[in-house]
C-alpha cells in the first residue's frame, strides 16, 4: 500500500499558500515547511511496559523562512489557522521585526547571503509500506515483544532484564513557496533488543537492532536477533580488557558504518566549510584514503530510515560520491551553505523538527563494498581484532581526530580466532591514517538506521550508515 499523505497538511495547504503570498509583499523570499508525522513506540521489559504515540520524529508544525536584503530569518509555530492567513503573516512579521529592533540596538552586522532560487516544481510522493503505525495492531505487537523478552530471560541464568522496543513513524512533510509545491509521505521503523546480564557484580548490556524504510511489519524480524544478543551478552561477561596499542582490525559492517559516519560524514558537512570548521575544505581532489576506499552519501544511497524524496529545504534527494578510490571528491550541502560556497545543494538540509534550524546533515553514509572474502580477511591478520557492535562516536573535522566506542573485539592470531573476547573498546586515531590503512573490503554490505546523530551536542536527527567488512589498522584502548 501507499503511505497516505496527511489530511491535516492537505487541509492547511491553501491557507499556507495565501500566507506566502501576503509575506512575499514584504520579503524577497518566503518558503514554508509544514509537517505532520505520527508514530507508535512500544517498549516492553520484564519490569515495565509502555505504549506511546511519540517517537524521535513525530511532530506537527510549521516553519516559515524569509529573506530580506541578504538576511535570512525563520519563524516556527504550531497554531496555524488556515482561515486566517493574514493573522499568521502579521504574527510572523511582528516577531521577526522585534528581533531586528534588538539587533539594530546591539549594533549587530549581518552575514550577507544570496537569494535562494525559486523555480517552479511540483512533486507528490507516497512511498510503499505494508502497515502504518497509526493503524497497527498494538495488542499483537505488545504480545510479540513480550514473548521475545520472556524468551531471552529463559536463555541465560545471568539475565536480569530484557527490554524490547519497537518504533514506527509515518513522516508527512510539505514544502511550499510561491512556485514550488512538494509533498511526501513515507514510513520508517526501528526495533531493538537490550539484554542486561549480571554475574557477581559484573553488569553487561548486549543489544541487536533492526531498521528499515517500512512499517511495523519490520518487527517480525526482531525475534531472529534473539540468539545473537543472548550469545553476545554471555561473551561480554567473560570479556577481558584489551592491551592498549595499534592493531590490525576488521570492522564489522556496523563498525564500518560508524567509521563512515564519523570520518567523512561529519567531516564533509559543508555548512562547516562556510565557517572554516572542517579540514575537508582544503582536501577536495586530494588523497584521504587508500585506493580501496570509496564512500557515498545521500538519501538515494540506500533504503532506510532517512530515505526521503526531498529534504527540509525542498531540495530533491541525492547520491553523492564523497570519496572515489581514496580521493576526496566533494561534500554534502544544505541550500544556504551551497549559495555561500557557490555549489549545488545535495539534498542534505535537515532539521531536528520544525522548531529547529536547518543544518547540513547526513542521510545514508556508506562505504562501497569490495571483493575480499571475510575468511581471507581473517586469515591475513597476524595479530588483531574483529570489531563488533557500535556504541557511539565523535568526530573532530577540524583536526581529523576520531573516537569510536565499540562493544567488543574478537582476538585473531596468525589468521585464526583465538576465542578471546575483549570489551569494551575505544578506537581513536587520525582519519586519513585509518582510511589510508584500508586494504581489504568484503562484498557483503549492510545498512544500520537505529539511533540518532547530533551536531555538536544537539540537533538530533535520524541517519543510517554502513558498508562491508573492512580491514585496516587502528589504535585501540
Amino acid at each position: 500500500m501507499k503511505a497516505p499523505f496527511s489530511d491535516y497538511l492537505t487541509g492547511v495547504k491553501s491557507g499556507l499558500k495565501e500566507m506566502i503570498a501576503i509575506l512575499r509583499k514584504e520579503y524577497d523570499y518566503v518558503s514554508v515547511l509544514a509537517t505532520d508525522s505520527c508514530g507508535l513506540a512500544t517498549r516492553i521489559s520484564q519490569r515495565s511496559r509502555s505504549v506511546s504515540g511519540e517517537t524521535m520524529t513525530t511532530e506537527r508544525g510549521i516553519v516559515v523562512r524569509v529573506c530580506n536584503n541578504g538576511q535570512y530569518a525563520e519563524y516556527a509555530f504550531n497554531k496555524f489557522d488556515p482561515t486566517a492567513p493574514e493573522k499568521a503573516a502579521m504574527e510572523i512579521q511582528g516577531a521577526l521585526e522585534a528581533q531586528l529592533i534588538m539587533l539594530r540596538l546591539a549594533g549587530v552586522k549581518s552575514y550577507d547571503t544570496p537569494l535562494l532560487p525559486d523555480e517552479e516544481q511540483t512533486l507528490f510522493v507516497e512511498k510503499e509500506t505494508q502497515q502504518l503505525p497509526e493503524t497497527a495492531d498494538v495488542e499483537a505487537l505488545v504480545k510479540k515483544l513480550g514473548a521475545i523478552s520472556d524468551k531471552a530471560m529463559s536463555l541465560s541464568e545471568h539475565a536480569i532484564e530484557c527490554i524490547v522496543s519497537a518504533q514506527s513513524t509515518h513522516i508527512c512533510k510539505m514544502f511550499l513557496t510561491e512556485n514550488r509545491d512538494l509533498c511526501q509521505s513515507y514510513v520508517y521503523s526501528e526495533g531493538a533488543i537490550f539484554f542486561v546480564v549480571n554475574r557477581e557484580g559484573n553488569s553487561q548490556v548486549a543489544y541487536e537492532n533492526v531498521s528499515g524504510l517500512c512499517g511495523p511489519e519490520l518487527f517480525d524480524g526482531l525475534e531472529g536477533k534473539l540468539d545473537k544478543v543472548v550469545t553476545t551478552a554471555a561473551e561480554l561477561l567473560d570479556a577481558e580488557r584489551i592491551e592498549p596499542g595499534e592493531y590490525e582490525i576488521i570492522a564489522s559492517p556496523e563498525v564500518t558504518g560508524l567509521i563512515a559516519h564519523e570520518a567523512f560524514g561529519h567531516g564533509v558537512e559543508m555548512d562547516m566549510f562556510v565557517k572554516n570548521r572542517a579540514l575537508g575544505k582544503d582536501y577536495i581532489g586530494k588523497r584521504v584514503g587508500s585506493d580501496k576506499c570509496t564512500m557515498h552519501e545521500g538519501a538515494l544511497c540506500a533504503e532506510n530510515v532517512t530515505s526521503y524524496a526531498f529534504d527540509d529545504e525542498g531540495t530533491l534527494a541525492g547520491d553523492v560520491t564523497e570519496i572515489d578510490h581514496g580521493i576526496l571528491k566533494t561534500g554534502i550541502c544544505d541550500a544556504l551553505s551551497a549559495l555561500r560556497l557557490g555549489v549545488q545543494p545535495t539534498g542534505n538540509g535537515k532539521r531536528e523538527n520544525f522548531e529547529h534550524k536547518v543544518y547540513t546533515r547526513m542521510t545514508n553514509t556508506m562505504f562501497d563494498s569490495g571483493e575480499d572474502s571475510l575468511e581471507d580477511m581473517i586469515s591475513s591478520i597476524s595479530y588483531g581484532y574483529l570489531l563488533e557492535g557500535m556504541e557511539s562516536g565523535m568526530e573532530d573535522p577540524k583536526h581529523w581526530g576520531i573516537q569510536c566506542i565499540i562493544k567488543m573485539g574478537r582476538e585473531i592470531k596468525d589468521g585464526r580466532f583465538t576465542g578471546k573476547v575483549v570489551a569494551p573498546i575505544i578506537m581513536t586515531g587520525y582519519v586519513p591514517d585509518l582510511l589510508g590503512g584500508i586494504s581489504m573490503l568484503s562484498p557483503h554490505r549492510e545498512v544500520f538506521g537505529s539511533g540518532g546523530c547530533g551536531k555538536g551536542c544537539k540537533e538530533w536527527v535520524k541517519v543510517a550508515d554502513g558498508g562491508p567488512y573492512l580491514k585496516t589498522k587502528a589504535r585501540l584502548g
Binding site: I44, G53, Y72, E74, M102, K398, P424, K458, G477
Partner: protein, 427 residues
C-alpha cells in the same frame, strides 16, 4: 483546548491521567564570527497526555502517552483520548498509585524578557578578549520563556514560568597555517556574563596549548585529574545509580544504608538533589508527574541514603515523597588543589566525548587536550584515550574541597582517579 481535552479525559472512565502543557516563546541567533547568519523566533505549544488504566481486578496498571496538537479538532481529541484509553489496557504493569496533590503554591515564576536576555548574550560575546591567535569562530544563542502547566486526575494543577538559555560556542586557536577548534555549550536560566567570559578565556588558553601539544606518550596506568565539566559525567554516574528505575530493574546494586563500594581508601562522595541551584536551567518546583521537588541527601559519605525517581518505580520501591531530581550537588572532597596536584599525573581538560556508563561502569574518552605533570614539568599532550571502570575508581578517588558549577550540577572542582589506563598517541 485544555478544557476540551480534560472534558474527554474525565468522561472516558480511565483510572487516571496527566496533562503537561508547555508553551515556549523562543529567540535564536546564529553568528559566524560576529556577523549574524540567521535569526529565528518560535511560538509553540506542546500538550502531552498520559492515560492510566487499571485492570478489572486491580492487579495491574497500564499507561499510554501521546501529544495532542494544539490544532487538533474536538473530534480528533475525542478519538485520541479513546485510543489512549484502549492502548493503556494493553500494557500491564504492577499496580501503583498516582502522585497526589500537595497543599501550597500552585504557581511560581513570572514571564522572562527574552529580548533582554538575548541582548546580554550578544553583548557578552562582543566583549571577549580575542587575539590574533585565539578567537571565536561561531556561536549560537538560544533563549526561551517557558510556561509549564501540569493538570492531573488526582487534583494537581501547578503552573510555573521560567527562563531557559543555551549558548554554543566554537573557539579557534591558530599558529601559522595550523588551526584547531574547541567546542563549548553552556546551559543556564539567563545569561551568566561573568561565568561565560571566564570559561571562554580559559578555553582560548586551552586552544593555545593544544596547538603546541605533543602526542600523548603514556601507554599504561597513570593518575588522571579531571578539572572541567567532563567530571559531571563521573558524578552523574552516582545519581543515576540512585535512580529508582535503575534500582528496581536491578541494573544498580546500590542498597540503602550500605556503602557504594566495598572499601574506601580515598574520599567518600555525598550527593544531594537540590530544588534550586543559582541560575540553573533546571530550577523547577515539580517534576513531570507533579511530585514536589525538594532538597534530599541521596548518598552521604559514600553510603546510599535515599533513592529518587519517577512515580511508578518509586512506588514499587516503597519510596515516600520521591521525585525526579533536576539539580545535583556533590561534596565530600577533603583535599586542597595543592594536595591533589602532586607527583606524575595527567590532567585531562578536553575530550572528544567523555562517557561514563551507569550500568556497566565503563568510562571512555579520546583526549583532545591534557597536561602531563611530572614534578615541576608540565607538557600539553593530545590524542590517545583513557578507559577503565568506575568499579576500580569509586573507592580510591580523591576530590577537592572547593567546587565548580556546570548549570544543574555543582561538583568538586578537581577529581583524581588513580591508575587509569591510558592509550597513548605516539607512533
Amino acid at each position: 483546548m485544555l478544557d476540551t481535552i480534560i472534558k474527554y479525559l474525565k468522561s472516558s472512565g480511565v483510572y487516571g491521567w496527566e496533562v503537561n502543557d508547555v508553551k515556549t516563546n523562543g529567540w535564536e541567533f546564529y553568528f559566524i564570527r560576529h556577523e549574524l547568519d540567521q535569526h529565528r523566533a518560535k511560538n509553540v505549544e506542546h500538550i502531552n497526555v498520559k492515560v492510566y488504566q487499571q485492570s478489572e481486578d486491580g492487579g495491574s496498571i497500564g499507561f499510554a502517552i501521546a501529544e495532542i496538537a494544539p490544532t487538533a479538532s474536538e473530534r480528533d481529541i475525542e478519538k485520541l483520548v479513546s485510543g489512549l484509553a484502549y492502548r493503556a489496557t494493553l500494557v500491564e504493569n504492577r499496580p501503583f498509585t498516582l502522585t497526589p496533590p500537595v497543599e501550597g503554591n500552585t504557581s511560581e515564576g513570572k514571564a522572562s524578557d527574552i529580548a533582554d536576555i538575548s541582548a546580554d548574550f550578544i553583548r557578552t560575546m562582543s566583549e571577549l578578549p580575542e587575539t590574533e591567535g585565539e578567537d571565536i569562530n561561531s556561536y549560537e544563542i538560544f533563549t526561551s520563556d517557558v510556561s509549564h502547566r501540569l493538570i492531573t486526575s488526582t487534583g494537581i494543577d501547578y503552573t510555573e514560568h521560567y527562563p531557559s538559555s543555551m549558548i554554543e560556542v566554537i573557539v579557534n586557536a591558530r599558529h601559522g597555517e595550523h588551526e584547531i577548534e574547541l567546542y563549548r555549550s553552556y546551559y543556564s536560566g539567563t545569561c551568566d556574563a561573568s561565568g561565560l567570559k571566564r570559561d571562554l578565556v580559559r578555553t582560548m588558553n586551552y586552544g593555545r596549548d593544544r596547538l603546541i601539544a605533543k602526542p600523548t606518550p603514556v601507554n599504561g596506568k597513570i593518575n588522571v585529574l579531571f578539572s572541567g565539566e567532563n567530571a559531571c559525567q563521573i558524578y552523574n554516574y552516582f545519581s543515576e545509580r540512585m535512580n529508582a528505575a535503575l534500582v528496581y530493574r536491578q541494573m544498580s546494586d546500590y542498597e540503602i544504608g550500605k556503602p557504594i563500594c566495598e572499601e574506601f581508601t580515598g574520599d567518600r562522595v555525598t550527593v544531594k538533589a537540590l530544588r534550586e541551584l543559582a541560575n540553573s536551567s533546571e530550577n523547577h518546583a515539580f517534576d513531570a508527574e507533579g511530585a514536589v521537588i525538594r532538597d534530599v541527601v541521596m548518598i552521604e559519605d559514600g553510603v546510599a541514603k535515599q533513592f529518587l525517581g519517577g512515580r511508578m518505580f518509586s512506588f514499587y520501591l516503597g519510596l515516600e515523597n520521591s521525585f525526579n531530581p533536576n539539580n545535583i550537588e556533590v561534596t565530600g572532597g577533603t583535599r586542597t588543589e595543592e594536595e591533589l596536584r602532586v607527583g606524575r599525573y595527567l590532567e585531562a581538560v578536553e575530550f572528544s566525548d567523555f562517557q561514563v556508563d551507569e550500568i556497566t561502569g565503563d568510562i571512555f574518552g579520546e583526549i583532545r587536550l591534557a597536561y602531563l605533570h611530572d614534578g615541576d614539568q608540565t607538557t600539553p599532550v593530545t590524542g590517545g584515550s583513557i578507559s577503565g571502570s568506575m568499579n576500580d575508581f569509586v573507592g580510591s578517588m580523591l576530590m577537592s574541597k572547593n567546587s565548580a558549577q556546570y548549570n544543574s550540577m555543582k561538583i568538586p572542582a578537581l577529581t583524581l582517579f588513580r591508575n587509569v589506563t591510558v592509550t597513548g598517541a605516539e607512533n
